[in-house]
Symmetry: D3
């Protein structure tokens, strides 16, 4: 009996978080290891369904990754890269869209539904959700790689209102109807801003951001993040993610989190525990101070 | 880190119950030890607030008990009893109402609000929630002891819709305006029926119902309960509670539970675990079979 | 037949007032003689129920008075006073709350329901309606006597929307959960401001405010009231009531009235006749001029 | 002061009627003397506006009368009659419609608005409110005199919902678009049935229905009315009105009243007093018995 | 088959206009030849019903004209004129109202209903839609000729919301209840402004506005129109119409059109083709440039 | 000018159809030639967007076809067939889903959006729209070929309510989460029944159904269709389509149409002309008679 009571007490620890985030929108970028490992896939789907059932509005943006490469290979499409970004011609784009929207997205939707959620997949073309244009990389045209120029959130809002969980593939549509492949972190940031989300959570494959001495940073203000980037402390791979947080905060998102997606239930832990599992980027130094105080008290 | 992940997994165990009871009404009779012990009082308030936050509609009916006796004593009002029921003259009734509505009820409301709930206290007079008439005990008039003849649930529904938790004192009003003291179990049963509640939970000070051999019964059908009463197996003190369950089931409540209120978090455990903590009385033998199967599977 | 036609014409005299106050909120402080005399109690209940039926939203705040004293006496609790205010220790507070919420409030609710209204009683703890803190009197701590620091009107609004009449006992709750006894006039004023009420009516046991020559003042502006207080013209007992009117006007209430509660149907007369029965305190000299003109015209 | 209190008491006498008729639809056929005399016109407009303000839904159907005759005369249109009904050719119909819809209706609307109502005039053509066909009189074609074959009440319901008072001219439209002049009593009865009205009130120029001995009948059941007609007791002029009541009762109207429109405030008196001013025709003998009992008790 | 496909393609040409005007309010002044010729009457009714069915909100204001004169003549009422405006005494006004509201309006309503619309006629008295005062012409009192001083659009909005088509006779009501005859163009302009209409369309009996050289002007800015009036280029008869457009634009209407009502389906052509059939007056020179560009592109 | 007027008249011919189908749901199976030819693709997208703008609710179910074959080939997946149906192993199913959901569906969505619609693509997994199970063909397991066992239409209804056009790929999800390829005609029929659609339109590559003499049948009743199938008159390829119509009619769809998708604007012609372009299958012989009469009259 003691065991069961202990369980009840753990449920009750969730109460302050339930109160704080009730009815709030949480945008989660889902990718990396968490999307590749079967156990983590299950745990992620469960986490999201739970959030929905306790009254929050999770919105998922997923990446693509290994599946795309293997499909391109199977089909004998060769890939060139410019500064680590794939040059995306029309044929490649067709494969990317097909895999992201027709395979990856559907797998995630199916998994959530199997855990009792009611997920609905969307591409950026649906309801013209993500309007994009060609992104130049160092003034070079690398094909159909896009950046977001507008978000029409109404389709998300309709689905939210009917208690569905929107799951979004990072494909955008140009004003001329062209299809663009867009970095999923960027899409998540823009959608979080358009929805005035309470939280943006980016799942990554690292433990968080580290300072000059290699120590994990638990909370940092937007301006510190900018300095760390300028000072070369943040690794190249993390820079886009951190910038995405900075932008989302500027666009009205209340808090952003870079979270270790390799940890089981990383999303639940981020939302329902004081410490979280990664680095939190907040709007201002004052907000950071409040966050730190909360951790100490707990 | 393992510890936190274990916690997340406990949260997730709640998921099937969250799904099953989302938006459902749970009427809880609160009384006995659970209302006398400070730790249990806190744990009960937390349990109820949690239910509200995860989307259920808890409705509380509380008893009175020791406070009434001590107040009658302080005021020098003597009590006579007929078959264990207090003969309630007008003066006694005034004290009973004052204590139940003005003291006990307010303490419960205050406690829930301190845990972040938004509770509102009601007496059966408010919105003529509980309409009553005099109850004769063996054809004897024992004064203002009443039985429920009607429930006007609209005030509860308005408060529910605005996300308040209704907390009800078991005082009824006669068609002539008289005030009646009513057994709280009976009130809870009638209100559960009027609200077509999903569950009626009666907190008691025993572990549950026992069979002829003294073994705890985990689940029994309405007809078995009737037989056990007829057979003299169920103790005199439990008979009214069991009858109240039988009536509520007949009135449309989906399930009823006689639960050990001396156990911390008894309400949460009842709702979020397979075994529960007491005896479940269900409508039919078929329903019992389903319940038993669920327990075995878990 | 002439008699009946005359009656119809009296009904029709109400038409302009029905039009003016349709859908408006009228906060009424109920106390003094009107709460002690049986005939006046009936007439008050009828008045309020009528207001509700013709489309206004009456909100009642009641005082306590003699009942509290007699209960304290019965229970052998002695009372000390500082500048006419009772020093309220915890034990006294418990009795005050019990009487106000569990007895006085319920009697008023019951009476209104008997006249066909649908009243619901509230204490300041319900839905944390009245948040309070300790009030020092001349820097002296006189115990649990409070002043209002916040009003959460949502529970009133939910009940209004469902056509209930809220009846409020002047008990507040501290941020720490403590219970406070608060002057009912003050509570009525704060609630009127929080609801942006059209009218605040304070029932008293005098004919109204008198000027230096002892003549009844029918209408006065807020600034005149301030001067009369400064000039020592207004009696000590009336000062808190007049200040409460001044505050309510500053807080957005359209008009305030100090009305002679000893007159039968004082509330109806105040609302449905030009002269009213007492003294009206209005926001500005211009508003006063308009009011005076209306009386002359009638 | 006594006078004013007496007035308040008269207001309160209205309370039971306010409760009984709140939100109910009252269809009133307006015609005869009440539409010709200036004082009665004012009193009728006031009565209707009051009903609206206290929460009922009055719907007015008006007749035409003397104005039509004088206009036909002015224009030199001669009239033939068959069994007291005007033979209505197209030219006559045009004048009838013009006077009813463009003059009489507008005067009533204007008068109500001047008393603070918000009236909107309708002809049976508006929203195809009244669909009609030619009525033969003893197998004779007397032109564009119609009978109602359908009512589309939606335009009335939209106006009601927006708090307007609908005022209806008894002009119908044929399936072929032809315009028909229809008896206003008949129109009122059909509209009352289509709206499931609580009451149908027909204003007339007599004191009510009399029995064989010439005594006024206060209440009679539908079947008695049928017998009185069969027995030749009811005068020829009253027969259509009584039949209209019988039909309306059969069509679902709760009560019907033939009221003396020459009495000032006849409508208010009918609704707000026990005796009323005329003859009430109710559905059954049982309903009659209840009505009679109510009168005796008052 | 080719023919039918060609028809489908014409339907599809309407698509961009359907998109642009979906849910928008279009106020149309109906008068002149279009109201006198049977074929044009039919075509106008069809046009309006179609607009309603494809999701726009047409609101019709009609004039009077020849019918009034013939009725005055029949009745032997003589007319005097001041600067072309009829001196309107009370007797004349009564005839004007009767004809406009009781005859012309009803004919239009009937015609639309026959084409499957659901039209409801309104006079400015209904719901006090058009509040007016006496208009002096060169400081001369010419009787009950009015100008609009207020519009209460709620009755129109209620009807719109219930999918009725409002058809308005240009009769206004004074603050004292007097009836005023008002120029229908002026009424249409004021109603368009009160409804924030997308378009005001004035049907006339000319091809449009011509410039100094007699060429039809297709589009002109508000300021140009002012200059053309000042320069004496616009004919006396057209000046009030053009001024009405200028006022409506200033009052918030998006676009105004002076259209040749002698052309069959003039309303449809104006809305569903690029060129339109008359002269468009737009708010600014920039708006004009955009309009011209659109025509060239088409 | 005559030309433009002729155009307006063609617009007006649509009026009776607009009235009949306003707010109605039209399910369209899109496939075959209409999905392969660029001109037909454009014309189909325009047709659907027009339907939406004039107030109908089109719901599209599309097929797959040649794209799937070419992708399987590119990827080197070989296909076996049983009675003309592809044996679908897991690897094949993955390709089918990817192409249908990630490519074909997205192309249709994009095309509609480019024509001003707001389309949203759905797979049967989204919101568990299409629940399926394995379909045996002559008792043979041919892999993941499914039949519909349930439709959850809520996601369609949410999108409809927010004015989106749902575009559905015929992929179903098993109770165990498996993915099934389902015949698009069958899906369209089941969805039409679940939505109580007004019409089900199946686009094909033939002119319609022919009788024994090879003459096109314009309208036939459900029972005739059954006889023609039994009699071997309907070709093997058409049998499933006709059966799908029969089922949909039995399931509550008002009318079904087998339409020649090779004709430009086939959808518009079917809805907006009397003859339509193919064969109509109606519920009963009586319905057929009404339809034939309508054609003759036109």
């Amino acid at each position: 009996m003691k065991d069961v009571i202990a369980k009840a007490e753990i449920l009750l620890e969730a109460l302050p978080y339930l109160r704080r985030f009730f009815g709030k929108t949480i945008v989660i970028k889902y990718g990396g290891h968490a999307m590749a490992n079967d156990e983590l896939k299950e745990s992620f789907a469960q986490d999201v369904v739970l959030l929905k059932y306790v009254g929050m509005n999770p919105v998922i943006v997923h990446g693509g990754g290994p599946q795309i490469n293997s499909m391109l290979e199977t089909m004998g499409v060769e890939s060139k890269f410019v500064r680590g970004m794939r040059v995306t011609d029309e044929r490649t784009m067709k494969v990317v869209e097909m895999v992201l929207v027709g395979s990856t997205n559907k797998e995630i939707v199916g998994l959530m539904n199997r855990h009792g959620g009611r997920a609905v997949g969307l591409s950026g073309k649906d309801g013209e959700l993500i309007v994009a244009r060609k992104m130049l990389v160092e003034n070079q045209d690398i094909g159909l790689v896009g950046e977001v120029i507008g978000v029409n959130p109404r389709v998300i809002q309709s689905l939210d209102a009917a208690d569905f969980i929107p799951v979004i593939a990072p494909v955008g549509v140009g004003l001329d109807g062209a299809t663009y492949n867009i970095n999923a972190d960027l899409v998540a940031g823009k959608i979080a801003a358009a929805l005035h989300a309470e939280k943006l959570i980016l799942l990554t494959d690292v433990a968080g951001i580290r300072d000059e001495d290699g120590n994990l940073i638990s909370t940092m203000a937007s301006e510190e993040a900018t300095q760390l980037i300028a000072g070369g402390v943040i690794s190249a791979g993390m820079i886009p993610k951190v910038e995405c947080c900075i932008d989302a905060l500027a666009g009205g998102v209340a808090k952003t989190h870079i979270v270790d997606g390799r940890v089981k239930h990383a999303v639940l832990l981020e939302i329902f525990t004081t410490e979280g599992v990664g680095t939190e980027v907040v709007r201002s130094t004052a907000a950071k101070r409040r966050a730190v105080r909360r951790i100490r008290k707990a």
